[in-house]
């Protein structure tokens, strides 16, 4: 299956050649979890603070992703 990944802020600047937020298709085995996606992207789990899947914030990294999911990854961010 393929998920559409957007890596924001400092997570987007790590040698991908892409600007933060540029969508990137990532191929994973069916039923792969969020943790598995981070492994595929070689992102240390602790570097990713927030995962938003199809607009919903997901705290459980063992949750399975679906084909076509929009996945956004963020380091710790704040503002206001």
């Amino acid at each position: 299956m393929i998920v559409e990944v957007r890596r924001y802020a400092s997570l987007g600047a790590s040698g991908t050649g892409q600007l933060p937020g540029d969508p990137q298709d990532v191929e994973l085995e069916d039923g792969a979890t969020i943790a598995r996606l981070l492994e595929e992207l070689a992102l240390p789990p602790e570097a990713v603070h927030l995962v938003i899947v199809d607009g919903r914030i997901r705290h459980d990294r063992e949750e399975a992703l679906r084909h076509g999911a929009r996945v956004a990854l963020f380091p710790p961010v704040g503002g206001g």
């Binding site: 933060p20 937020g21 503002g79 206001g80």
Partner: protein, 590 residues
């Protein structure tokens, strides 16, 4: 021991009467001995301003107060609170800004500067405050001028930006417009830091006070009653700010500024777009903090990290945006301003957003109110969403004070009425900030009940609802009554300390940092406050504000979001505002 009765500071109040242009120093009343910042501005508004007065009449007052620790070595503590009765909401208002101005006022031993009365000669005046006292001079040369020019000239003739900071109103304030903010100089002397919300610039304009320059040369340091406790506290806070990923050097705020939030709210479906019609903006990535960082790098040829807006800030989140020729265009494009002129107006061109931001700084306008107003104006057919050139022309109308400009300069609600628009995102007449209530329920409850009108800084529930700071809550869960209350209490305390609210990101996650803030305050004041006093003080502040608003005529019916949010589903979640009124009414019921 009663924690209210142990204070040792011998601070003063400076009372300025614009009717006869007198300036009188008074001892700080005993009841206010341990109050500062928002607690003190709201206390004086509550105790001295008739709740039924016209906000632009002689009986309203504008109160300035630095926080408990402003002027000391406490990190990130140069905030100044500005209070009064708001011409925008008709209720109490406290707006605060980061600037060296409040620090200098604190070093002069002035806990509160109260501006009252009303000039009767139809002229504008400049007030100068220094160790010798307070004096007036005519402000005629700067009336009608851009704020960058006025403020630079006032600073230059008053000893230079190293020696003074300037507070001033722009053209919008001179014309008593409801969207007029109070402008302060930043660390570099830019006219860019705003106590923006609620129209307090119009109140100063109504009094005939154009600017206040504060010179603290020769002033003594702010006295500290218990230095050991104070030092222990400030070190704990500094450690927390330096450690937390959001507030540390080259962390999220220092790298990308507050506009780093654009993408996160967009992904969460909570970025209000085209006047709150949608929760996602297709141009979000082009205007986000990451794009500002990348754009500056492309134009300047190097990484540009952000700078402190005020002395002593170790978070340093204030950005600049640069023209293609590398010259500075504007500072600061905050998240709220970026959203207001960007997503809310359907504009995805950072140069146009920067120009709108600059014009608001020059004319003395609240960027949130004006962005929200432009969104409503587009609904009303005055321009088309996305047409940045036309949006810029409309803001120039405000400077020219044309009839159209005066409507726009009085904010979203007035503009909606003038053009027959029903989709007006506001509460109590103040336009909504950059978080969509239908997608983030706790912030919607906060907008509804805030004593300030729609205001995200009243209680930043976005931290646990979206950012995963101080908890991990579901933003779509409507059960946020306790959250909305406790965050507003904690915020009212922080707003009284003189610290920037952004310390909350660190101290909500790192308990020793919050203890440090309480120790700092006790160290300065000589009190024995504990963490229990945070909630007590926060509640005391809110109780004063709620009482003022009740006397001003507000009822539960004013604690409501606009009707369209209950009727119109918001993409992408397609939910409506569904928090029951009874739950909203429980927030401050106890």
């Amino acid at each position: 021991m009663d924690p209210e009765r142990t204070g040792v500071r011998m601070d003063r109040m400076l009372r300025v009467n614009m009717t006869d242009r007198s300036a009188t120093f008074e001892p700080l009343p005993a009841a206010y001995r341990n109050r500062a910042g928002r607690w003190l501005t709201s206390s004086i508004v509550h105790d001295e301003v008739p709740a039924s007065c016209h906000p632009l009449g002689p009986n309203n007052k504008v109160i300035f107060s630095p926080g408990f620790v402003t002027g000391t070595a406490a990190p990130t503590s140069s905030r100044i609170s500005v209070g009064g009765k708001s011409p925008l909401t008709g209720g109490i208002k406290e707006a605060n800004a980061g600037t060296g101005w409040g620090r200098r006022l604190a070093r002069l031993g002035i806990r509160a500067l109260v501006v009252e009365g009303q000039s009767t000669d139809n002229r504008f005046w400049l007030l100068k405050v220094d160790t010798k006292g307070a004096t007036f001079e005519p402000a005629d040369p700067w009336v009608g001028k851009k704020l960058s020019e006025a403020v630079a000239a006032i600073a230059a003739k008053s000893g230079g930006k190293e020696r003074v900071d300037v507070c001033a109103i722009g053209v919008a304030g001179e014309h008593r417009m409801g969207a007029a903010g109070v402008c302060f100089t930043d660390r570099e002397g830019r006219a860019s830091r705003y106590a923006g919300r609620g129209g307090l610039g119009a109140v100063l304009g109504s009094k005939g006070l154009k600017a206040i320059v504060v010179d603290d040369s020769g002033a003594a340091d702010v006295p500290i009653a218990d230095k050991a406790t104070f030092d222990s506290g400030r070190k704990k806070l500094a450690a927390a700010l330096g450690e937390h990923a959001i507030t540390k050097p080259k962390g999220a705020l220092n790298s990308y500024g507050t506009a780093v939030l654009v993408n996160i709210l967009n992904e969460a479906g909570g970025l209000p777009t085209r006047n709150f019609r949608e929760g996602r903006f297709e141009g979000a990535a082009k205007i986000a903090g990451e794009a500002i960082f990348a754009g500056n790098k492309e134009r300047l040829g190097h990484d540009l990290y952000n700078h402190p807006c005020s002395p002593g800030c170790i978070i340093a989140c204030s950005n600049t945006w640069h023209h293609k020729d590398r010259s500075e265009h504007t500072s600061c494009i905050e998240y709220e301003s970026d959203w207001a002129f960007g997503a809310d107006c359907g504009i995805s061109d950072l140069d146009q957003i920067a120009e709108l931001n600059l014009l608001c700084n020059e004319y003395g306008l609240d960027t949130i109110e004006i962005g929200g107003t432009l969104g409503v104006a587009a609904e009303g057919g005055l321009w088309k969403f996305g047409d940045g050139k036309r949006a810029i022309e409309l803001v120039h109308e405000i400077d020219k004070a044309t009839p159209l400009g005066r409507i726009l300069g009085n904010g979203a609600l007035i503009t909606g009425r003038a053009f027959g628009v029903t989709r007006v995102p506001h509460v109590k007449g103040q336009s909504m900030p950059a978080y969509e209530p239908r997608a983030v329920k706790g912030i919607g409850m906060t907008y509804a009940v805030s004593t300030m009108g729609a205001d995200h800084t009243s209680g930043y529930t976005i931290a646990p609802e979206i950012l995963g700071v101080s908890g991990k809550l579901d933003p779509l869960d409507p059960k946020k009554t306790d959250l909305a209350r406790t965050f507003q209490y904690a915020t009212a305390f922080i707003d009284s300390t003189g610290h920037c609210l952004f310390i909350a990101f660190a101290i909500l996650d790192i308990a020793s940092g919050f203890e440090g803030v309480v120790e700092e305050c006790s160290g300065v004041l000589g009190t024995k406050w504990t963490m229990d006093d945070v909630g007590r003080i926060g509640k005391a502040v809110l109780d004063l504000e709620l009482d003022f608003n009740r006397r001003a005529g507000f009822t539960a019916a004013d604690d409501r979001l606009p009707e369209f949010m209950s009727r119109e589903p918001l993409p992408p979640h397609n939910g409506v505002w569904d928090v029951p009124d009874a739950e909203i009414d429980k927030v401050f019921a106890s």
